[in-house]
């Protein structure tokens, strides 16, 4: 039968059901009447003829039913009846239905939200053409000191790769955007600039809508100063001026020529407001590992080819190359797909979250298995009755499957809604530009994942009752409502697994909370309260001259001291809680380590910096206005510096970097580590130099990467200071806007944002897990009580006390919970080791955390087992026995 005819029949049968039935009745009546007519004609008396005709038909109803069954869509109709029956069943047990849908909504919601992020970060292809042909180059370094992976390379490595790897189109970019000022007319604006080499947009396959990309000429040191604008900057600042090409704009107080405008909606790994040529060189900033390579495989080339070329090129130079921080190291290079490279730093966190979400799902499955099991057992009389009335095993199972699918569908929809809300709030929680993707959508793949998940859980938990009804023995079900031992064991096993998974989640959340507490209560080494900071870009040609720079700093700090309520003010290249400039090759002149070249964090500060932050001075003195450009060059070091490079001996009076004299030692302050982020906060060796003595070469280079901060200490609330600080600064240089105001507490929060997000997410999931298992245990124990009512009644009738009966039931749940606790702790040993990289200051086997988990879970399981057991007190033994 063709499809169209079939659909027409189904529609007609379903929509014009009444009419069809009417016609069938008429037809059958006509048949009977005519049959009777025949018989009358054959001489049979009318009333007998009619009865005989009806008898020959075999009853109208069976014929009618047979016709109905052959009609197209009869299966659909039966399904609809079953669905309606299922809906009624669910409606009649609102407690069960709501618990199941809530369980599904929460567990599937959590998984949907996390999967959306995984999808956006790892599965969705990058928004470039042929993203699979794009990559980045990492270095793998093995040396006597340490071995590590790096995502960035230096100027020498770049030149080698650029010239000797024909399989790749390569470009580099400064790893991060840098802040700078744009002046247009009287308007000044703080922008994020991406510094890139020629071919960067060729690698991304992005073509400007106006003008062109950077060429090799712009890449040369001291080449023409040009800029490419993002579409938004072109529209918002330059009014989408179509004649902008060739026009000069004032960047960093110097004229730059606009050579291109990017198309609307283009994303780059940098996502900057505008782009300037990097003009990389082996000297200056090219000396450090500051550059990030981005590559595209040329047509016909393979990644294996590219890797071979990279390492061949590198092998020619190995002898001549030495890593300052890892002397004698072996360096090898390899390509990494761009997507993987972009998300590498977030991967451990995301995998932890996925694992947590999976555990939640497992708990939910155990929960749902328990709930449906309980429900099927409670429905024993109904099912027994239906089977006695002739329903087959298949019909009963079909009904249960349909009910489970209905629940899965409702739970899935609720889960998508929950996941959507959870994702939105999660994205609000994350700081801007935290995820290296523009958007985290709930797309088709996420919806398919969710649907699959709800069906899977439905199959998992729907399987149990179906397996039970298969073994369902009608006679024993009616005769004996007592529970079989295997059901009891199954319920106990469910409790065990719920508790075990919850232990893992609680422990993981506990460890992260302890880490966050540890980091937040680390002694900062200064007094953060009452300090407001403001940051501005000094990447400005006017300030390449040390005298102008010095004058501006002096005047602006003096202006800020005039703000009412301000006790102290100062400026510095970087602040505590932040990353600072890392310099290699600083020679130590005298002392035991004389001749050694070391790596250290370095910053310049104005006099008053240590006083403003109240950093304790442990030896010597701090900087004064007398430490100027023409006097003895001086430096202050921190305790870690002394411990590492002077073995704790007093360094005051010793020299570093030829003739810089150490004049003081200050307390360590908590800092974000410079090169490899091993921890969000730690003590680093630090060298402070006076801003007045910064060499010109360092001045220009440092301001490309770092925006200095002005700090004021006040007794007033710090928030009120921002406009006064901007005003004070404008009185010295009206062309430089502050890019942001942060209190010291804000800075700490900013540094610990990853930890706070992790804690928030994992704690939410742990609480969810605790809630789900509490519900699950409660339902299972409550059911054990119901099923054992008769047994308990008999026990009490035979002289057992209610307390003994409660203990008996309670122990069934408590034993399972205790077993789950032990199993969970064993599971922790296996699973939590993967968290080591995100824990700071605490051990994976942290005793307080374990104790807290055991206590919390014991309390919750005790409540969840005791509450239903209390119902035993209401059991009336006489009535129980009468019912038998």
């Amino acid at each position: 039968m063709n499809l169209w005819l079939r659909i027409r029949n189904i529609l007609r049968n379903l929509l014009r059901k009444q009419q069809m039935e009417g016609h069938l009745d008429d037809e059958l009546r006509a048949y009977t009447d005519m049959l009777a007519d025949e018989k009358i004609a054959a001489g049979i008396p009318p009333h007998e003829a009619r009865r005989a005709a009806l008898a020959e038909l075999g009853g109208i109803e069976p014929v009618r039913q047979k016709v109905r069954d052959t009609r197209a869509g009869a299966g659909l109709e039966r399904l609809w009846l079953d669905v309606r029956f299922g809906m009624r069943q669910l409606w009649r047990n609102p407690g069960f239905t709501i618990t199941v849908i809530l369980t599904l909504a929460l567990s599937i919601g959590a998984n949907t939200a996390i999967f959306s992020i995984v999808n956006a970060l790892m599965l969705k292809s990058l928004p470039y053409s042929h993203p699979e042909r794009m990559g980045t180059i990492n270095t793998h370094i093995t040396g006597p000191v340490s071995s590590d992976e790096r995502h960035k390379i230096n100027g020498e490595q770049w030149e080698l790769l650029r010239d000797n790897v024909p399989s790749l189109i390569s470009a580099i970019a400064s790893g991060r955007t840098s802040g700078l000022n744009l002046q247009s007319g009287s308007h000044v604006q703080y922008l994020q600039a991406g510094r890139i080499s020629a071919h960067y947009f060729d690698v991304l396959a992005v073509h400007p809508i106006l003008g062109r990309n950077f060429s090799e000429i712009e890449d040369l040191v001291n080449g023409p100063k040009t800029a490419i604008l993002s579409y938004n900057l072109w529209r918002n600042t330059f009014g989408a001026n179509p004649n902008i090409l060739g026009k000069p704009i004032l960047l960093k107080s110097a004229p730059y020529t606009v050579i291109g405008v990017l198309p609307e909606g283009v994303t780059t790994p940098l996502n900057a407001d505008l782009y300037t040529a990097l003009q990389e060189s082996r000297k200056g900033e090219g000396a450090g590992t500051n550059f990030q390579v981005i590559t595209r495989l040329r047509d016909g080339a393979t990644w294996q080819q590219a890797d071979a070329e990279i390492n061949h090129a590198w092998s020619l130079r190995t002898q001549r190359y030495e890593l300052e921080d890892n002397p004698g190291a072996q360096v090898s290079f390899y390509s990494v797909p761009l997507q993987q490279g972009e998300t590498a730093t977030l991967r451990p966190q995301i995998l932890t979250l996925m694992l947590a979400a999976a555990l939640i799902l497992l708990i939910a499955c155990a929960n749902l298995a328990g709930l449906t099991l309980v429900r099927v057992l409670r429905r024993t009389p109904e099912i027994a009755t239906r089977m006695a009335l002739g329903a087959s095993h298949w019909q009963i199972q079909r009904q249960l499957w349909i009910e489970n699918l209905l629940l899965a569908l409702m739970g899935g929809i609720a889960g998508i809604a929950t996941g959507f809300l959870a994702l939105r709030s999660l994205l609000l929680l994350l700081p801007e530009h935290f995820l290296p993707v523009a958007d985290v959508p709930l797309d088709g793949r996420v919806l398919a994942f969710t649907l699959l998940l709800s069906l899977l859980t439905s199959v998992l938990f729907g399987m149990l009752p179906v397996l039970i009804t298969r073994r369902f023995d009608l006679r024993s079900a009616i005769a004996n409502r007592a529970d079989s031992a295997s059901h009891l064991r199954l319920r106990q096993a469910l409790i065990v697994s719920e508790v075990a998974f919850t232990v893992v989640l609680l422990a993981a959340a506990g460890l992260l909370i302890r880490t966050l507490i540890h980091l937040q209560t680390l002694p900062p080494g200064f007094n953060p309260t009452g300090v407001m900071t403001a940051r501005a870009s000094l990447d400005d040609v006017r300030y390449h001259d040390p005298a102008t720079f010095q004058k501006m700093l002096d005047q602006s700090v003096a202006a800020m001291r005039q703000i009412p309520g301000v006790q102290q003010a100062a400026a510095g290249l970087s602040l505590p809680y932040e990353r600072s400039l890392v310099m290699g090759g600083l020679p130590i002149n005298d002392g035991k380590e004389a001749g050694q070249k070391v790596m250290t964090s370095e910053t310049y500060v104005t006099p008053g910096y240590f006083e403003t932050l109240q950093i304790p001075v442990l030896a010597g003195r701090t900087f004064t206005a007398e430490d100027g450009p023409n006097t003895q060059q001086v430096a202050i070091v921190n305790q870690t510096f002394v411990r590492k490079f002077f073995h704790g001996e007093n360094p005051v009076g010793r020299h570093v970097n030829k003739d810089i004299m150490i004049i003081g030692v200050v307390e360590d302050v908590a800092m974000a580590p410079g090169i490899d982020a091993v921890a969000p906060l730690m003590d680093e060796q630090m060298l402070y130099i006076p801003a007045a003595q910064v060499p010109p070469s360092l001045l220009a280079m440092a301001h490309v990467w770092f925006q200095p901060s002005w700090i004021v200490r006040t007794s007033h609330p710090v928030e009120g200071l921002t406009s006064q600080m901007q005003h004070a600064f404008a009185s010295v240089d009206p062309n430089i806007p502050f890019s942001g105001f942060y209190s010291m507490h804000d800075l700490l929060a900013k540094t610990l944002v990853m930890q706070r997000v992790e804690v928030a997410l994992l704690t939410t999931m742990a609480v969810l897990a605790l809630l789900l298992s509490a519900i699950g245990i409660f339902a299972l124990v409550a059911n054990i009580v119901t099923q054992k009512t008769r047994e308990i009644g008999i026990r009490i009738a035979l002289g057992s006390t209610i307390r003994q009966a409660m203990t008996h039931i309670g122990s069934l749940g408590a034993t399972a919970a205790a077993l789950g606790l032990v199993l969970g702790l064993i599971l922790c040993v296996a699973v939590l080791r993967t968290m080591q990289s995100v824990l700071y200051g605490i051990n994976t086997y942290d005793l307080p955390t374990i104790l807290a988990v055991v206590t919390t879970l014991s309390a919750v399981t005790l409540i969840a087992t005791t509450l239903p057991a209390l119902r035993i007190a209401r059991i009336d033994p006489a009535r129980t026995l009468r019912e038998e």
Binding site: E27, A30, D37, V67, R71
Partner: protein, 110 residues
């Protein structure tokens, strides 16, 4: 019902109904009687089989139906072959002949 009546073979009901309707339209009882007549009383189709088959064949597009008056003025549903039904009759006739011939040959074999 005569003693020689035989149970319908699987798949023969459709063919018998199609054949019965070959000369023209008939109502349910008419089809039943016509089958008895053309099989010389060998087959008798019970209403419990007849009506489901008629409705199924109508849905398949082999038969069409209309309401009309019977010979003794009863309002009845009359069935007739559609074009597809006529084609189906040819196909099934050809098939059945082949099977019948094959069966006859098989039974003749020694």
């Amino acid at each position: 019902m005569s003693a020689k009546q035989t149970n319908l073979l699987q798949g023969t009901l459709d063919l018998l109904i199609l054949k019965a309707l070959g000369p023209g339209e008939l109502h349910g009882l008419g089809i039943s009687r016509r089958i008895e007549q053309i099989t010389h009383g060998t087959f008798f189709v019970k209403p419990g089989s007849l009506f489901p088959a008629l409705h199924r064949m109508e849905e398949a597009g082999w038969l069409s139906s209309s309401w009309g008056d019977s010979e003794n003025n009863r309002r009845a549903k009359f069935y007739q072959l559609t074009r597809t039904g006529k084609k189906q009759l040819e196909v099934e006739t050809e098939q059945w002949s082949r099977v019948a011939l094959a069966m006859a040959n098989a039974l003749k074999a020694t």
